[in-house]
């Protein structure tokens, strides 16, 4: 049984001009200890999916359908208080900007201890000892001394290490990391990614790594889900998705990544832009930009289909009945 199972999840935003569907009928699974990368452009619904899983969709956003199961138990319809006990304890979260993720008015030690004592029966002193261990583990030098420092006394990279310590401090089974390195310097990004990867391996924690950076995914993830306009376009192992992409969108995405040492004349470019939520075309949402689109793509919406490669793609090219094209 998968650690996390998302089935036909649908996230809606009621607005004055009608209901916007930010996440449209997506399904995915994460196994114990697995790193699932979720990539896509801004607005593809990756962060919404993450927020829905940790139960912190910003109102008026709401889960309109489907279910989310953690270790087999449904968690999408839990009352707030029950979900609160799961957040932090079973599902940790890391957000994009370490500079704003920590409360500026409390020491990092206090924020750690507070999180630990909220979810465990540890005494204040034990929690403190545990927190200091964690800080050393995430690579904060002189953790004992830095325990009583305030967030503004750390650099961005160090703060993200503290954030990781906070996300891991009660040993959750899953961490939803939403763009954990986007706000950091490139040189720091690699360190943080390596740290996250190592820690999660050591603790056996699964990660849902949300990013728009294929490089990060390629380096870290076991499997990848590519999202486009609120749906999953393609899903498979990192190797298959990066090397043998089947969905025209993924192909375009991979072709647009510059690689050092590869002598490519021009990077490919996907014409156009992802549709806004208000004007998603009928049929496959990608059809107006797709170089391989045919009639069926404009009328019917494809679900994930097994491709001729190892991945699954939401593309009519891989429907056996229409394989004549």
């Amino acid at each position: 049984m998968a650690l996390l199972e998302v089935r036909n999840l649908r996230v809606e935003f009621p607005t004055r001009r009608g209901v916007l569907v930010a996440v449209d009928d997506i399904s995915l699974e994460i196994s114990e200890g697995e790193v699932l990368g979720v990539v896509g452009e801004s607005g593809a619904g990756k962060s919404m999916t993450g927020s829905a899983i940790i139960g912190l969709l910003e109102p008026p956003g709401r889960i309109a359908g489907g279910e989310i199961r953690l270790e087999g138990e449904r968690i999408d319809n839990l009352p707030y208080e029950k979900m609160r006990r799961i957040r932090g304890a079973k599902i940790g979260a890391i957000f994009q900007d370490p500079l704003t993720s920590l409360n500026p008015l409390y020491t990092i030690g206090r924020q750690l201890v507070e999180t630990i004592t909220t979810h465990t029966d540890l005494s204040e002193a034990d929690a403190r000892a545990h927190a200091i261990d964690l800080l050393s583990e995430v690579g904060i030098p002189a953790a004992e001394r830095r325990f009583d420092s305030y967030p503004h006394e750390f650099s961005g990279g160090m703060r993200q290490r503290v954030v990781i310590a906070l996300a891991l401090c009660v040993n959750p089974r899953l961490i939803v990391a939403d763009e954990p390195t986007t706000a950091l310097d490139v040189s720091i990004q690699a360190q943080i990614i390596a740290l996250l990867k190592r820690l999660c391996r050591d603790h056996g924690t699964a990660v849902m790594l949300i990013t728009h950076d294929m490089g990060v995914i390629a380096e870290t993830a076991d499997r990848v889900a590519v999202m486009y306009a609120g749906r999953i376009a393609e899903v498979g192992t990192v190797r298959d998705v990066v090397k043998h992409a089947k969905h025209p969108y993924t192909e375009g995405l991979m072709g647009s990544i510059p690689l050092v040492g590869h002598d490519v004349e021009r990077l490919t470019q996907i014409e156009g832009a992802m549709p806004r939520l208000t004007e998603i075309p009928t049929g496959c949402a990608f059809n107006p930009r797709c170089p391989k689109a045919f009639d069926r793509c404009r009328t019917e919406r494809p679900d994930l289909l097994q491709t001729d490669g190892a991945t699954q793609a939401a593309c009519w090219l891989y429907d056996r009945e229409t394989a004549y094209v």
């Binding site: 912190l56 609160r84 932090g88 999180t115 909220t118 006394e153």
Partner: protein
């Protein structure tokens, strides 16, 4: 931090000197005190004599120096109207005003802050909407209208609370307090409520908008993601982050409470400094006016100083500015 404190104290002193200067000018140039003190038929020699006795022939700067020296010692001359030392008059009236202001400030905080937090968190509940509408009344109705309204309801119609005066006061040394008798409490309720209502609604609305602002921040979202209890998130993390602006406004408002108390004291015939001041204005009693001006300025300056120091307590980023600048 010590440098900062010294700097702020120095600035405060400067402000006080400027205010004293203004008060001094009012005191001296509104009219010739000698004319006020002597009759029409005094000779020019006698006038000169008195002028000399009072030191009014000294150079301007010397006179100002003397005024400041006296003011520091709490001496502001003799009231024209009551023929008593202004310092004594103020000392008599001050407890009444300070007690009124203190109770109003407490009321404003005790109701304003929690209601602000409540309406900030439960943004769309109908109770919040109701509180906000009522608070709009508090912000927009002038103090004297509220005072008169309260007198009409509770003193005239229901007859449960007195409409003027301090009721029973108990003398403790030179301080007279309303807080030790039932009559005193009954007398102070209406003026205190009147005076606090505006501040209360102001604090409520300020706390609410700051809460709304803070609730949107990443660290609140992250605090929720860590599974902290609502109580810890709302009060431990959110409320504390609203405190810097709230302390600023509350501090300034306590100053304005002292100033606004003029109106409330007049409406309720409250024997405080404001009432004394209004009577002094009517009589062109310059020494009293000058002393009142200096007193109010002193209160404002002191509150500002305390507010600036409180920032350090609330926000660690200010404490460590120096360390950050030094690259630590």
């Amino acid at each position: 931090m010590l440098a900062y404190v010294i700097q702020r104290v120095f600035q405060s002193l400067l402000v006080m000197v400027v205010v004293a200067f203004a008060a001094f000018i009012v005191f001296n140039f509104v009219g010739d005190p000698v004319d006020n003190m002597l009759g029409q038929e005094t000779s020019a020699e006698e006038r000169e004599e008195l002028r000399k006795d009072l030191g009014l022939d000294d150079p301007f700067i010397v006179q100002f120096g003397r005024f400041v020296t006296n003011a520091v010692h709490g001496e502001f001359g003799i009231s024209y109207r009551l023929q008593r030392p202004v310092a004594d008059l103020i000392a008599e009236r001050m407890p009444a005003t300070l007690e009124l202001v203190a109770l109003s400030a407490v009321l404003a905080l005790v109701f304003g802050v929690p209601l602000g937090v409540f309406t900030g968190i439960n943004r769309s509940s109908w109770i919040s909407q109701l509180i906000l509408i009522v608070s709009l009344v508090g912000v927009s109705l002038p103090t004297f209208v509220i005072g008169i309204l309260l007198i009409y309801i509770f003193a005239v119609n229901m007859g449960v609370l007195p409409s003027f005066g301090r009721g029973g006061v108990v003398e403790i040394g030179w301080w007279s307090t309303s807080f030790l008798t039932v009559a005193g409490w009954q007398a102070i309720i209406l003026p205190a409520v009147t005076l606090s209502l505006f501040q209360m609604t102001l604090i409520l609305r300020l706390v609410r908008s700051e809460m709304l602002e803070v609730m949107r921040t990443d660290y609140i979202k992250f605090a929720r993601a860590r599974g902290l209890t609502d109580r810890a998130v709302n009060f431990g993390h959110a409320l504390r982050n609203t405190l810097v602006p709230v302390i600023t406004i509350v501090g300034l408002n306590i100053g304005s409470l002292v100033a606004f108390s003029i109106i409330t004291e007049t409406v309720f015939q409250w024997p405080g400094m404001g009432f004394l001041f209004i009577q002094a204005v009517g009589f062109a009693d310059v020494p009293v006016m000058a002393a009142y001006l200096v007193m109010i300025a002193f209160v404002f300056v002191m509150i500002n100083l305390i507010v600036d120091l409180l920032y350090f307590v609330v926000d660690p980023r200010l404490r460590a500015d120096k360390a950050v600048a030094a690259g630590n």
